[in-house]
Amino acid sequence: MDALDGNAIAGPLLEHFGSEMTTARGACAHCGATAQIAELRVYMSAPGTVVRCPACGSVVIVLVRIRDALQVDDTRFKPAPG
């Protein structure tokens, strides 16, 4: 199964943050590479969505919908000047 990119999670991120996020730039907590969210690799998994750094493949963002509430863990995607 091929990865999608951050464009595929534009809707949920807009829903969660209240603003358009695909151009937001951040740095991978593991390797430091920076990227816009649209450039991250997105894997639609069964329980949730896993977003990985395009440089090193580490998980940077995880989205889960638990009982209809969307949760976004972006703690491994540090904000960077865009």
């Binding site: 199964m1 894997y43 639609m44 069964a46 329980p47 638990i66 949760q71």
Partner: protein, 201 residues
């Protein structure tokens, strides 16, 4: 509730025998591929299955030895937390009873881990007495990498996120330690018949 889309049924079929399908689930004839990361491609000559953690002695099997262990053919239904169920799937592999029978432990839990970093947690009693296998064949053929090959865990009585793809080992633990999805709010146990999808269910 959302407005109904006239005539929409999705991929599902009518439930033939409701007693086979847990609450909130729908039947599918497909085998959807849903992954948390890229498909790993560990060469078989580098593959091994390791049992470590709370054991007197860790133990590992390289591929050649692993497929030489006593094997079983398993037929079972699988239930994904995203609500699809697939009946009468057939697999071939090594029972966890065989693997755990080779080590000594007093631990009651284990964390299963895979190539790519995925983890999931299980109670020892959920993988004992003919409830779990490490399988390397599906439908009579070698397990496809997309579906977790060369080998994946199979625990049909729990939601399918517990049946870790690309499995490489298990670590026995004294306490129940949430794995990847469990840490994000999915249920530590995951019994589909009790609809244990999320923590607190």
């Amino acid at each position: 509730m959302s407005p109904i889309s006239r005539g929409f049924m999705g991929r599902r079929r009518a439930v033939a025998d409701p007693s086979r399908v847990p609450p909130g689930q729908y039947l599918t004839a497909d085998f959807p591929v849903l992954s948390a990361g890229p498909t790993p491609h560990t060469p078989l000559d580098e593959w091994s299955f390791l049992i470590d953690g709370e054991v007197t002695e860790p133990l590992s099997w390289p591929w050649g030895e692993f497929v030489g262990l006593p094997t079983e053919t398993v037929t079972g239904d699988i239930h994904c937390v995203t609500k699809w169920s697939k009946l009468d799937t057939t697999w071939k592999g090594v029972s966890l009873d065989t693997l755990l029978g080779a080590v000594e432990t007093e631990a009651e839990y284990l964390t299963v881990w895979s190539d790519g970093g995925y983890t999931t947690n299980l109670a020892l009693e959920d993988v004992s007495d003919g409830k779990a296998w490490v399988v390397y064949e599906y439908g009579g053929k070698p397990l496809d990498p997309e579906h977790g090959g060369p080998a994946r865990l199979l625990v049909p009585h729990l939601y399918f996120w517990k049946s870790a793809k690309w499995v490489r080992g298990l670590t026995l633990t004294a306490d129940d330690q949430p794995g990847f999805w469990e840490g994000y709010g999915y249920h530590n146990h995951g019994d589909p018949w009790l609809e244990q999808r999320y923590q607190g269910d």
